[in-house]
Subunit: 486 residues, 2 copies
């Protein structure tokens, strides 16, 4: 795969022009619409290069020297952000070509996705100009790149720190959500690229870049349409061997496909084709942003399980029944523990109101940290078990139990990060009530723990789904490797 | 169906005996285990009758006069709660029979659900004694009844107010969860019955009672096993015509069925049989407590839709695509709005970066309450649309937008409760970020609004699922009515 030097410049620009910034833009106040928004967010992200607002009616905007067009900027421009009304985009692109500014992110929307004839024709013209001028065009109708290392991006209050995950998405809203919720799942970003209608650069171009990007180890994608399906398939199959590719394909129902047309003007494709795509590439399939975030967290924080057999350590008989059903629905197995393990557990767990078969209904142990540790050790040592899901209740004696809760949590973290049996151990917190203190505690732990490298899921089904996918990924890669050795 | 006078007394007792209360029980401190717990929670619920602790080694417990056994209590006992070790249960039941105390709730666990031979035999004895003595036995291995109107119940901090929902459940943990989360979904309870291993009284007995209970309008059930499937089917089909029956059947996977055996010692049955059950009864099928709570809320707060065609009013193109897919996956239809509606919407909604086809991607309207109202009116008037799901973002200008948010929310509530087109309108809040103020606001609104009669769901899929079920329920009943007219 090739390295794209244009994208390299676009993702690490030193000089940025923003075309279409209101002459009276302000730094404070409610979120700005249009060009000023980019300047504000670049500054928030600590961008160290130079920014030139472009506006024919101003000489200074936001304290920055403004120019009437890109051509008049006195130095080479690494990235142009276009935020003008749709009808003015062709003129701006001609200006970029004249200025030899090749990397252009077109934020402007209002092309074929509107369904209006005139707008479609305008879109065609934009595409033609870009192709003729050899522009490396991102968009239109998109939020462009977020590269924290380079201090660029267009979302409010996203982290300045970098991380190992990259995200390629035809939806800017999805990027916005993911950039905020990634850190809540314990990861940050290398490159996030919102690329909208994909007139020139398509997912495959960004993928080519990320494949060899040393800062990226996990690749997430949200796609509505694809120009070259064969190329994407080959690429994903190849990249997925080294960097897990987690992909959400949107618009696979008829209504969804219609929404795709109204969003990025793409052709959505059909479910059967995409099923084949996943079967052949081994890419990790998800169906929502939440799943994508939990899946990325899993690839980053959970060691690969050796099989699909899970032990669930929970509380409550009804909850055990539900857990068993959910695990199986989501593709895992819930074997009965060996007689030996059960015999050991019986030594310190009274059977009335409990169960030690699997799921383990041993809620009282969440109030007794050392017995819980003994239980986890025994279960992890069981040869029939490949991974553990621990489902603690946090309402152990109300607020008064806070100290106990701290001990419980720190012990769970220790066991999850490093247990002598090397068995993946993840957490799903449970609660009976919605007490504010408990809701708050749970919400806090669900962010804190992933940031300490411990996978916590908001639901058991989410945990099972992510673990099943992690297992399937490694199984697929194992088979692929075996095949290539033959 | 017959009225069960024994259950009537058990659910509205004047005199309660609690067998097995520790002599040194305290009113304060951490949650008590065993009998004292019942006395504490009855008192919390404002029980107005008399409570007699039973303990051969004490004359007073918790300031209440204690007796050595039930027979020695000087007045007729309406309900006996048994909280002694399993081996002592037969003796207590003999005592109850001698005292002519027919209504007995056995909290004690440790019978066939343990899988131990000895415990199984003990269970058989308990059952035989109860049957021979004509006891109206609830349990064993259960939390018994919660009847706020009568001031009885065994869960901590559940509402003292009554409501129209009843819940029959083989899991006490599920009852606990549901009693706390019901009020968060805007409803409270008439009778909640945790009935565990069902030695004598089974789901069908409780159902018989609730069928004619004037305080109950919606019946929820969690079942692990059933003794008389034919009877249940006939009953549910009949009751469901008048009072929606929402049913979660646990343990339908092999592992789940094993967990059922470990929990209440029941036989779980098979998926195919239960599919037939739902097809024949028209009962509302759910797969989790969350779904049950959202479904009950829907039956209580949402008027029946005339069809399955939904309009989604949201923000973001990617979100629209996902919404369309989710609606269809969950059984709804997402038709394009009529040309007339679109033409009207176009008059005040610019198309660049938006869509007015359906899903509507018109996020800016959440910042403009009067335009949003116009949009909702037009969409609700569209003859192709049966119901509306509105998905507002709450992060409208940060905290500063609080005033605007208040207006938005109150307008949504007004429209949802009473729009001139009579179209069901429900809400799913969205947010890009996890800002604490927004998380808190959303959590608060998700409780407040249902308590004002407006249905709010935690996810779009949850909303669709509940609405699809509401529609299906009314379609089924309509067909049934048509059939019986023929």
């Amino acid at each position: 795969m090739s390295w794209n030097p244009a994208l390299e410049a676009a993702f690490h620009p030193k000089v940025v022009a923003v075309v279409g910034v209101s002459a009276d833009a302000k730094r404070n106040g409610p979120p700005a619409i249009g060009g000023a928004n980019f300047i504000r967010s670049y500054e928030q992200l600590g961008f160290q290069g130079r920014i030139y607002p472009v506006n024919p009616k101003a000489t200074e905007i936001l304290g920055l020297k403004a120019y009437p067009n890109v051509s008049s900027i006195p130095e080479p421009v690494d990235l142009v952000i276009v935020s003008v009304p749709a009808h003015a985009v062709p003129g701006v692109l001609e200006d970029c070509i004249a200025a030899n500014a090749r990397n252009v992110h077109v934020f402007t929307a209002g092309f074929e996705e509107t369904g209006e004839e005139e707008a479609k024709e305008l879109g065609c013209r934009v595409r033609q100009i870009a192709l003729r001028g050899g522009l490396c065009l991102i968009g239109p109708n998109c939020m462009g790149p977020y590269v924290p290392q380079a201090g660029i991006g267009s979302f409010d209050r996203v982290p300045r720190e970098s991380g190992p995950v990259s995200f390629i998405s035809q939806s800017g809203g999805h990027c916005n959500w993911f950039c905020h919720h990634g850190p809540d799942h314990g990861f940050r970003f290398s490159k996030v690229i919102s690329f909208g209608n994909a007139y020139v650069l398509d997912s495959t171009d960004y993928l080519e870049y990320l494949a060899v990007d040393p800062e990226t180890t996990v690749i997430c994608m949200y796609l509505e349409g694809v120009k070259d399906g064969g190329k994407l398939l080959k690429q994903v199959r190849e990249i997925n061997r080294v960097k897990p590719v987690i992909l959400w394909k949107g618009g696979l129902t008829e209504s969804g496909s219609r929404a795709v047309a109204s969003h990025t003007g793409s052709l959505a494709g059909q479910e059967a084709i995409w099923r084949g795509f996943f079967a052949q590439t081994g890419a990790v399939r998800v169906f929502s942003l939440e799943e994508m975030a939990e899946s990325a967290m899993t690839f980053l924080h959970v060691r690969p399980p050796q099989g699909k057999r899970v032990a669930v350590l929970g509380a409550g008989g009804g909850s055990s029944v539900a857990s068993a059903d959910v695990c199986v629905y989501e593709g895992l197995e819930v074997p009965t523990l060996t007689q030996e393990t059960q015999a050991e557990l019986k030594k310190f767990i009274p059977l009335a109101g409990a169960s030690i078969k699997n799921p383990l209904d041993t809620g009282l142990l969440f109030r007794n940290v050392s017995l819980l540790e003994r239980e986890m050790e025994l279960v992890a040592a069981d040869p029939l078990i490949d991974m553990l899901i621990v489902m603690p209740h946090l309402d152990m004696g109300g607020r008064a139990g806070a100290n106990q809760t701290d001990r419980l949590v720190s012990q769970l973290c220790d066991f999850s990060r490093d247990n002598p049996y090397g068995k993946p151990t993840v957490i799903v917190f449970q609660s009976f009530a919605n007490d504010p203190w408990e809701v708050e505690l749970r919400a806090r732990l669900e962010v804190e723990l992933p940031n300490k490298g411990v996978a916590v899921y908001s639901s058991l089904s989410g945990a099972c789904r992510a673990l099943a996918r992690l297992f399937e990924y490694h199984r697929f890669q194992g088979e692929l490797a075996a095949e290539s050795r033959r």
